[in-house]
Structure formats: structure tokens, C-alpha cells
Amino acid sequence: MNRYEFMRELEILLSDLSPQERADALSYYNDYFDDAGQSNEENVLKELKSPREVSDKIKDGLNEASKNQGSFTENGYTDSRYTHPDFMANTQNKTSNSPYPTPKKLSGWQIFFIILLALIAIPIFGPIAFGAISVIFGIVLTIICIVLTITILAFALLILGVVVFVVGIVTMFSVPFAGVLTSGVGIIVFALGILLGLFTIWIYAKAVPACIRGFVALCRLPFKNRRKMA
């Protein structure tokens, strides 16, 4: 294998990386060959061993989780995974394209037992889940009722304020003092209505969307973790 064959194979092996990451790695090794010089090409190729070894180390490096695997000795980097017979066999087998072992497939029996376990769990966890959902539903319903009550109260106060004010104005013609008092109370009630109305508007504009967002985020939580793990 010469330098160009090596680079071509490395490019293929790195094809699952992002374009930027791949280009960086390829240009690094291209530079490396250039700087080592033509006379050293043979040595560098021998040192690098195989494109697969290089690509595996690049991918391991990108994978933060593997930071603590392997160690560097004076005799070079040793990683038990690379000296493991399985890995060596895998390296020699050029036809397998994936550098990583495919995730273990569950056997038919294992799947059967998982389904069985789930069926057994239904009578136990079913009622508990139902209870939990009922409680959540009850809380949500209560909150909706409270919000509706506040809304209706705001409207009622506004209407009452206007009515009392008008009554006060009318009364002013017969009993001026009582009329002024009544219309004053009407204005105060109207002001309270406005205050409560503003509060209602705030609930609908800010609190309700925030609650919905929070609820959606809560529902997404289990999926988010799964995506991170993948």
C-alpha cells in the first residue's frame, strides 16, 4: 500500500464523520506525509499500521466516553481493545466495513421473556399508572377552573362597577350624598375589575404558554436522554 492508497482508504473509513471533521483529519495526515518526506513514506506507513487503526483512534478521540480507555506507555499506546484477538481478527477482515461491532441483537427467547414480563407487570403497574394519570388530570382540571373563575370574576366586577356607578349618578339627583358615595364605590369596583382583568390577560398570555411548554418539555425528557445515549 502506498501513501495515496492509504489516504483513499482512510477517507472511506472516515465517511461517517462530519465533513469538517473528516477534512481536518485527512489534511493532518496529508501534511504528515508531506512533512515526513518521500524517503520516509515507507516508515510512516509502517508506523501508522493501517487506515483502520488510524480511523478507529480518530473516532475514539471524538468519543469523550472513551477518554479513560487505554494508556500511553513508553512503548506506545496500548489499548486492550486493540490487542484483543477479536479486534485483530476484525482488522484482518477487510470486507467488514463498519469499524464498530454491531449492537447485540436480542434473541427470540429474550424478546419473548421481555414481552411476558411486560404482560405480568400490567395488573400491578396498570392501576398505579391509572391513578397517577387521574391525579394529574384532576390537578390540571382544578387549575383550569381557578383560571376560569378569575376570568368570570373580572368581567363581573367590571359590569358591577358600571352598574353601581350609574345607580350612584341616578341617586345623586334625589339623595346627593348617598349618590356620590355609591358612584365612588362603583368606580372602585370598576378599578378592581380592571386589575383582575389585567391579571387574567397575564395568565393567558404568559402563564398558560409557559405551562404548556413545561409540560411538553416534561414529556420529551425520556426521549432526550435516549438520544444523548445513542
Binding site: Y28, I58, S71, F72, T73, G76
Partner: protein, 108 residues
């Protein structure tokens, strides 16, 4: 060789090697310089450089050399801080080890 070089020590060695060149240095030279201390394989260094770059300890720039672009690595402000931390840690660590080793000599 009986002593292992952990990832942190390798980071420290690479940072120290790169920091020696004020204008930055390139992959092949870094490998050769690191190999004066420890014999690491050529494929080991790129992931280390990439990680240090990602951690903002190294910055890169391309400069023309002999009709092509060569990538240079330079230690950042953060890298200098990190290197000084490694130096202090190494001094404390190696002093303690030396003291124990030396103590054994005295007992003989």
C-alpha cells in the same frame, strides 16, 4: 517500560512541546518532539491535538509552506494556564515520588 503515561501527562507533554514554538508548530514536528520523551505511535497524536483544540487549549492556523498549506498549532491563553497547572502538579508529584525513592536509598 514499566511506567504508563496517562492521558493527562500526554496532554501536558504535547502542550509543553507546542508552547516551545512561539509562532506555532506542525503535526509532524510535534510528533518527533514528543517522541524524544515517549515513544508514542504516530496515529496517537492527532486525537490528542484534536481534543486540546476542542478544549480551547490549542488554536490552529494555516500557513503556506513549500507551495502548500500547512496547519500550525499554537498554545492559547487557556492552554498556557493549563500547562502551568500541569507543571505544578508534575513538580509536586515527582518530588514526592523522588523523596520516597531517595528515602529507600538512605535506609540501605
Amino acid at each position: 517500560m514499566v511506567f504508563n503515561t496517562g492521558a493527562a501527562l500526554l496532554d501536558a507533554i504535547v502542550l509543553a512541546v507546542v508552547s516551545k514554538e512561539a509562532d506555532g508548530t506542525y503535526g509532524y514536528k510535534i510528533t518527533q518532539d514528543v517522541r524524544e520523551a515517549i515513544d508514542i505511535s504516530e496515529s496517537t497524536l492527532y486525537p490528542v491535538l484534536r481534543r486540546l483544540q476542542k478544549d480551547d487549549c490549542l488554536s490552529v492556523y494555516d500557513q503556506e509552506f513549500g507551495g502548500r498549506n500547512r496547519r500550525y498549532y499554537k498554545v492559547t491563553q487557556k492552554g498556557v494556564v493549563q500547562l502551568n497547572l500541569y507543571r505544578a502538579e508534575w513538580k509536586a508529584y515527582s518530588n514526592k515520588i523522588s523523596k520516597i525513592f531517595g528515602g529507600n536509598d538512605l535506609n540501605e
